[in-house]
């Protein structure tokens, strides 16, 4: 019991940290609420889907930006996708960077785009690490026989 409460405390702290730092927003909490007994792996599934997409899109955008003549329309559509999915899972920081990215695309600003892309990549890696930590904590709780606490 002691371990469980300790873990719960950790997870609450960590969640609060993520919210505070702007990694995730309310949408993520909503997402977590969608998890129930019938689909315990829902959040993990969605998040891993997101990172798969994310990786693919970042790669595509990097490739597109390397070209001599950059197809900004294509990049823009990629950014649009990323923006949509990031707001879907509540990845606030990535969402914000995407907004800036989109502006760069509209201005056809290549350097801005490259910078934004780096930022996106950076944010993705950070978020991935953080969420992995969060999921690990959750798994520990389950392993310890507890249930994941509902988010506030």
């Amino acid at each position: 019991m002691d371990l469980l409460s300790q873990l719960r405390g950790q997870i609450a702290d960590f969640s609060a940290f993520l919210h505070r730092e702007g990694f995730v927003d309310d949408q993520f909490t909503q997402l977590q609420k969608l998890r129930d007994e019938s689909s315990p792996g829902f959040v993990v599934e969605v998040v891993s889907l997101f990172f798969e997409d994310c990786e693919k899109l970042v790669n595509n955008m990097a490739k597109a930006l390397e070209q001599q003549i950059v197809d900004f329309k294509q990049v823009d559509s990629h950014v649009h996708q990323l923006k949509g999915s990031s707001s879907s899972i509540g990845a606030a920081r990535i969402h914000n960077v995407c907004i800036a990215f989109k502006t760069c695309c509209e201005d056809q600003n290549r350097d801005g785009c490259v910078r934004c892309l780096q930022q996106v990549n950076h944010e993705c890696i950070q978020l991935k690490n953080n969420l992995q930590t969060l999921f690990k904590l959750e798994q520990q709780i389950i392993a310890a026989g507890g249930s994941i606490p509902a988010m506030q």
Partner: protein, 944 residues
């Protein structure tokens, strides 16, 4: 749209022009191409034939001439030889005479010969010299001896002119002469020029010599004179000319009257009249002297033959020339042959010419026909295009009308107005359906329809179709059921939309034409179906047929509803084979599906009804477009008659065949085969997952008891339960069911099933006595004290309120499942029943405290459309949370496909901004399709 039309118009025109060009260019044969040359060729041919026949004539004529020449040659030679022989005989005799004279006149002294003797002798030997008119002997008299000689003989030497001879060196007066030439006695032979020359030559050579031909004295015939020298002393061997002259004593001469002689000679020979003979002396080759024959040449001059004559005088040369008396007659054989050949050639040429002309005409006709055909085809294409375009163009305003009508119906209307508007809407929908069908047909005819190849679940499609017609069938009181053999793979690859269209069409027809009985859809593997039918036929042949049994006085058939069906072969016997095998060999199914992982699978789908059937005379044209069985049919039942023809086209596109068996007033059974692909393993798994989502898996392991007297119907029920993972046992009556349950109850774990659910067919329930069921109830209650009571469920096609109440009273308080059975519906009912009794143990249940949310969207089917899969997943999760059945589509196109009529969705959520087809475009497309589905824009994360 107009642009498109123009393009297509241009295209069609271009095609037409092309075709025409091709038509004029190709197909011309050699003859056709050179038609202007034909008369010239004919003329050339005739000329060639004439030339050829001329050559033939000449060839044959030349043969004739050669033969004629040969004949002439041989005749001429023969004559020449005879003449020569005769001549030489005479010459020899004269020679002998010369020797006689020399012997008896000079060697004898006194001379033994005088004129008298000589004349006598020569006259008597004249037959020896037929060619000589006469012979005479002239003595050589030198001028010095003339006096003596004249005195001795008593006459003077005279010249040829019968005058006393002038003085010369020597004389040759004739002293002996044959009587025939006695007139030359005393004439000096040397006074005649020819004779003199002859004498000189004769005495020099010692041989017989001849003069050139001249007119003989006395006869005035042409003749030659032969002269022999007579020597008075014996000559030395090989004497010189001088010695000979010295020894000469006289000369013996004879005159050949050649003209008459030759005449006599030739008269003796055959063919005398045919040829003319001339004999010439050619000693002087520049001046031919004629000896015999006419000087002026007549007769056939074209052909001559010359034969040499040797009369024994080497100095004189003679020649015989023969020629035909008449010109060569024309050769009739050659002429006829040549002429016939020419005529035949002419005829052949004319026949060929006629044939060529005929070919040209036929080809002209052919080309004309071809052009007409092209034109007709082009017209047909244009017609189709026009029809398609017009249909398409009609559809757009029609959608507007329908939309407005839908809106109108939503407003506050009086009942009459509502009725009018609804009628208009119904009519509009019918029109749209018709136009869609026409478009479909045109599309198929134009070969533009391409089938998709996507994996889909046949069973769920069939369930969907069933749900479409469930209300109609329920209203009509017909049993509607579906059965899919377990051998049929879960997922097949094909065009689900088109498959659904075929099934919908067939079932729609069946529903339309059936007022009692049942409609039964069966799907089997084609190979199995065939094998089973064969065995069935065999058993029939063996006399083991038992297609109907008599029960309680009325004939009852072993079919779904007990009504007779058109196709006996689809009856229970065969059906039992399938179902038994299906249920027996669960293990083998997986094996077969694995084996045929990448192969095609042929399915046989039967739609059996007990409707009015198709009249026999109309059965032949059922699949023809726009033809209905009977013109009264359309009045009674409506419809355009295009559906079956489309179905036929679609089935053929799927690589199958459609056929039917129908008996009027008994029913029809339409069956078709179609070839589908089977899935690869991984896809299969994916689909299974999705399928598992679609069909709740919470019932796996449950046991059910089906109470049904009709084995076919029971099998269908069992099939649906099996799909939900429920093990089902069939008993034929309530009594038996009670018995088995009772036993179970007492034996607890006797290996027999303890049913969680009991499904009772309404017929069985009604036919079984109420008392029985209550007894059974009681029985169960007594025995089952330690068990949960099995849930009682009534299966009914249609049920009246009173019946319903009665059922409730009889213990079917749990629920009534209305047919047609569908796995999903059964699942929903079971869920309801089971969750009422016991605590929810499966994931599909409600979460704590959110029962309201759960019920909010419970059972609703919602389509989520978004190109972003994360978004899609989140939205699906959220909606599922509220109890909805969610399906996802990743593009507007895919969504449109899913939403094709008839679709199953209650709502559609979609992203407003997507590539290819965004929400707005989607909406306009969607409006065309259907109005019943409320479109809710998914403005979920729209940028603000």
């Amino acid at each position: 749209m107009t642009l498109k039309m123009q393009q297509s118009y241009h295209h069609s025109v271009a095609v037409k022009v092309n075709e025409q060009q091709v038509g004029t260019k190709r197909g011309y044969t050699f003859i056709q191409a050179n038609r202007t040359w034909l008369p010239k060729v004919l003329l050339l041919w005739v000329m060639a034939m004439a030339l050829l026949s001329l050559t033939i004539y000449n060839g044959m004529d030349a043969d004739n001439r050669v033969r004629r020449k040969e004949v002439l040659g041989s005749m001429c030679d023969q004559r020449a030889r005879i003449l020569q022989d005769q001549f030489s005989v005479s010459v020899n005799h004269v020679h002998a005479l010369a020797i006689l004279v020399s012997t008896f006149h000079y060697y004898k002294s006194p001379s033994a010969i005088d004129q008298e003797t000589f004349a006598e002798y020569t006259a008597r030997t004249a037959f020896e010299r037929p060619l000589l008119s006469g012979v005479a002997y002239a003595r050589r008299v030198i001028d010095s001896e003339r006096q003596e000689f004249e005195r001795q003989h008593g006459w003077t030497i005279k010249t040829m002119e019968r005058e006393p001879s002038a003085i010369r060196d020597e004389y040759a007066p004739v002293i002996f002469s044959q009587e025939t030439v006695s007139y030359i006695e005393s004439l000096d032979m040397m006074s005649g020029e020819e004779d003199r020359e002859n004498i000189l030559r004769a005495r020099a050579t010692g041989k017989a010599v001849l003069t050139r031909p001249f007119r003989l004295l006395g006869s005035h015939h042409l003749g030659v004179v032969l002269t022999f020298p007579v020597y008075k002393s014996k000559l030395p061997p090989s004497p010189t000319a001088a010695q000979r002259i010295e020894a000469t004593a006289g000369y013996l001469g004879g005159a050949f009257d050649i003209e008459s002689l030759v005449e006599n000679l030739l008269g003796q020979l055959a063919g005398n009249q045919a040829i003319l003979v001339n004999v010439y002396d050619i000693t002087n080759s520049s001046d031919l002297l004629i000896m015999y024959g006419h000087q002026n040449l007549d007769g056939d001059l074209s052909l001559l033959h010359e034969s040499k004559l040797d009369f024994g005088d080497p100095f004189r040369k003679h020649l015989m020339i023969c020629r035909y008396h008449e010109k060569a007659p024309a050769s009739w054989a050659a002429l006829t042959t040549a002429f016939l050949f020419f005529v035949i050639g002419l005829l052949v040429g004319y026949i060929l010419y006629g044939a060529a002309i005929h070919i040209v005409r036929v080809e002209d006709g052919f080309h004309e026909m071809q052009e007409l055909k092209f034109r007709a085809e082009a017209a047909d294409v244009t017609k189709s295009q026009f029809l398609a375009t017009v249909s398409h163009e009609i559809r757009t305003p029609m959608n507007g009308i329908l939309g407005m009508l839908a809106l109108l119906l939503d407003t506050d209307l009086s009942s009459t107005q509502r009725d009018y508007a609804q009628t208009a809407q119904v009519c509009g929908k019918a029109l749209i359906a018709l136009i869609n069908e026409v478009l479909d047909r045109e599309k198929i005819e134009a070969g533009k329809l391409e089938l998709e190849a996507v994996p889909f679940d046949i069973r769920s499609i069939l369930d969907d179709v069933l749900s479409l017609f469930s209300e109609k069938s329920r209203n009509k009181g017909i049993e509607l059921a579906v059965f899919v053999s377990d051998k049929v793979p879960e997922i097949v690859v094909g065009d689900p939309g088109r498959f659904r269209q075929i099934i919908t069409n067939l079932v729609g027809n069946s529903v339309k034409f059936t007022d009692r009985g049942h409609i039964f859809i069966k799907v089997h593997l084609y190979e199995n179906a065939k094998a089973m039918t064969d065995t069935k036929v065999n058993t029939c042949l063996n006399g083991g047929s038992n297609e109907s049994v008599l029960t309680s006085g009325s004939q009852k058939f072993k079919t779904l509803s007990g009504c007779e069906t058109a196709d006996d072969q689809n009856s229970w016997d065969v059906f039992r084979h399938f179902s038994d095998e299906d249920f027996r060999s669960d293990a083998s199914i997986n094996v077969t599906t694995n084996n045929e992982a990448s192969e095609d699978v042929g399915l046989m789908v039967c739609v059996e009804d007990t409707g009015i059937g198709i009249p026999l005379k109309a059965q032949g044209r059922v699949f023809m477009p726009f033809v209905q069985a009977d013109s009264s049919t359309s009045r009674h039942y409506g419809g355009t008659g295009i559906g079956l023809s489309i179905s036929k086209c679609l089935v053929e596109l799927m690589g199958g065949q459609i056929d039917f068996i129908s008996r009027p007033d008994v029913g029809s059974t339409f069956s078709f085969t179609a070839v589908f692909g089977t899935c690869k393993k991984n896809v299969f798994n994916n689909m299974e997952k999705r399928n598992a989502e679609a069909l709740p898996s919470g019932f796996r392991g449950l046991k059910a008891l089906v109470v049904d007297g009709n084995p076919v119907r029971a099998t269908v029920t069992r099939y649906h339960l099996k799909r939900l993972g429920i093990l089902a046992e069939v008993v034929s009556s309530l009594k038996l069911a009670a018995g088995s349950c009772g036993k179970n109850g007492s034996l607890t774990s006797g290996g027999k099933i303890q049913p969680d659910i009991i499904l009772v067919e309404k017929d069985s329930w009604i036919s079984g006595e109420d008392s029985v069921s209550s007894v059974w109830q009681l029985d169960l209650k007594q025995n089952g004290h330690t068990f949960k009571l099995p849930k009682m469920i009534l299966l009914a096609t249609n049920i009246t309120d009173s019946e319903f109440d009665k059922a409730k009273g009889a213990g079917f308080s749990d629920t009534v499942i209305m047919k047609p059975l569908r796995a999903r519906m059964v699942a929903a009912c079971l869920q309801q029943v089971l969750s009422m009794g016991k605590k929810r143990s499966q994931g599909k249940g409600m979460p704590n405290g959110s029962s309201f949310l759960q019920s909010l969207l419970c059972g609703k089917r919602i389509l989520v459309v978004d190109d972003n899969r994360v978004n899609r997943r989140v939205a699906a999760g959220a909606l599922k949370k509220f109890g909805a059945d969610v399906e996802c589509a990743e593009s507007g196109k895919a969504a449109l496909k899913l939403l094709q009529l008839p679709h199953i969705y209650d709502a559609c959520f979609m992203d407003i901004q997507m590539p290819e087809m965004d929400g707005y475009v989607f909406k306009s497309c969607f409006m065309i399709l259907d109005f019943n589905c409320s479109v809710i824009y998914w403005l979920y994360f729209l940028d603000r």
